[in-house]
Symmetry: C2
Subunit: 360 residues, 2 copies
């Protein structure tokens, strides 16, 4: 365990991390790379550790979440660990009755669909995520000691995506109940999403206080919305979350799937790094986002089952497009997938990608 | 029953149909409107007729498909009937072992994943869809006689979407097997998709010969691809389908979900009408598509459960955006949803939308 460091010492150390350098416009020693959902079912060591433990149990157990978060760092040599968690963890910690069911996803016992339900949404008390904070403490110490080039990224779901789970009761195809509430009672909608933003802010501030080097705000399903609806119903709340963690001075990454039309608005919400899915070349994304945000992405996770020659070509294409984006104003590039690692992915392929990206 | 008409008489009559006028740059008497999946579970009369009959049975029974196709015309007064069918119908007719399972979707008995499997894909013989042709014959007669302003739109899945079902074995979230074949063996991919294009062409030509006034080629899942992959692996096959039915001189509508990045390429594939999902305003879509295609869309089907005031506002917004698109070169506007009617939709709302669109 390393000793506690002062904020300025932390900041100086942090800029030596390739991921933080790329996110802040400094020059990284190498192109940083990590993979969304790198800690998970693609790893045999993960399946072994998870055996006999439910998903939520693993997310709230300091030892389990520490081990699972570190596994891909040890195996792949990625430039970031991402806190092993789930979008619904802070909701559960706040006291909302839910579970994560294998093969289904989150299941909310009493979906929230009206003002009475909204009024019952609790606040997140830091002590309810004390085990997560303890895990982060261990993780930062282990990373500094054993993997000094590796950043720790905190994790939270954005208010819209949290709202969609709470309203639909779980994963959804069309989000009709979510949109119905949004359109039929905008005041109630903003009240709900505002309360969820409070929870997200509390969860992220706890992680930052515990020592994460950066945070990623996942608005997984924002791409289901038109730009006009995103701006009216979602962006103000995401912007508040990002603003209310800005005082830590650590990079804030913002990502959603299928957000080609929303990228500029997601950048304007206050992100330092905008994640891009595989549908849009990074240089095109840069033209949409404008300004000097860094970009994260964007290899199609479905490509990971193709022959290596295909993957090699695609990784090089993405790095070239990222360099073109940097040449026209992007702050930096963090290599990643365009969505999470699929469970059936061969993890040795991920290791090879890390090695390749570090040469590019 | 009306008497058979000559092709030229048919063409002259067809341009009097509002939908055909809008699709061809003529001036329709009213703004045409229909709804994707208007024939289906949102209608109690559909659920009644389907009771005791499987989905595939209904698609191959001339009487059932005729009745189901006509139901939304009678109820809503839409400007088009769309042939009641399913994307996998021509595959089944060609002899591929599959079923449509309630709650799941198509299930392919032996998914196609290699060259040996591709070599077994049969051709579609017109006699295997004779019942569909007979249904179309009845439908055109009934529509001319009882609903003279209503066009009949034929229906087929585009080769990529057919391929994705065949390869994955059914609906998919990530299309990893599809993309894996595409990337790992492009030659096999093009052979497969070429064979499926043959089936689609045969199915659409049968429908056109039987008398449909227009066709819609659904590439439901093309939006899972980047533009570069779409152009390389998909567009040539869709373009061949559209070219090989061009000699009928009837409008060809082309639609997929989440295709904001692909709209120009889908137009270039040869469509007369490009369908747009709800994510993109129609005037923005027009700027991407360019040229003088007509546009179809694009009310979010999830909005249909919102209060009428919201729907009213959204319908007016879409028509205004469509008019702006026409002012900058779009050939015309066919009002529709941005995806299919959801099963839980109140059908009386659809009727009100038809009435409203006809005033705009």
């Amino acid at each position: 365990m390393s000793l506690p460091t002062t904020p300025s010492a932390t900041a100086a150390a942090a800029t030596r991390l390739p991921l933080i350098a790329a996110a802040t416009g400094a020059t990284p020693d190498r192109r940083p790379v990590w993979f969304m959902r790198q800690a998970g079912r693609s790893l045999p060591e993960y399946r072994e550790v998870r055996a006999g433990h439910g998903m939520l149990e693993a997310c709230f157990d300091a030892d389990l979440l520490t081990e699972i978060t570190l596994q891909p760092v040890r195996r792949h040599g990625v430039d970031a660990a991402i806190l092993f968690s789930d979008i619904v963890v802070p909701l559960r910690a706040a006291g909302i009755d839910l579970d994560i069911v294998a093969g289904t996803g989150p299941v909310i016992a009493e979906p929230v669909r009206d003002r009475a339900g909204i009024a019952t949404i609790p606040q997140l008390l830091p002590e309810s995520v004390g085990s997560v904070a303890r895990g982060i403490g261990t993780l930062t110490a282990v990373l500094r000691s054993d993997h000094p080039g590796t950043a720790l990224i905190g994790f939270a779901g954005a208010p819209f995506t949290l709202a969609s789970y709470l309203i639909e009761g779980g994963p959804s195809r069309n989000y009709e109940r979510t949109k119905s509430l949004m359109y039929s009672d905008p005041e109630a909608w903003h009240q709900l999403v505002g309360r969820l933003a409070d929870i997200t802010i509390a969860f992220l501030r706890m992680q930052l206080e515990a020592g994460v080097d950066a945070v990623q705000l996942f608005d997984s399903w924002a791409g289901m919305l038109s730009l006009a609806d995103y701006r009216e119903y979602v962006q103000p709340h995401s912007a508040r979350v990002l603003a209310e963690v800005a005082d830590f001075g650590r990079p804030r990454i913002h990502f959603g799937v299928g957000t080609g039309e929303l990228l500029a608005a997601m950048g304007e919400a206050g992100a330092d790094v905008v994640g891009v899915d595989w549908r849009l070349p990074l240089d095109t994304a840069q033209r949409r986002i404008g300004g000097d945000r860094a970009l994260q992405g964007n290899l199609d996770p479905a490509i990971l089952s193709a022959p290596w020659a295909v993957i090699d070509r695609e990784v090089r294409r993405i790095c070239a497009e990222a360099d073109a984006a940097i040449a026209t104003g992007a702050r930096g590039h963090i290599f990643n997938l365009g969505h999470g690692v699929l469970p059936e992915t061969d993890p040795t392929v991920l290791t090879r990608i890390v090695e390749l990206v570090h040469t590019l």
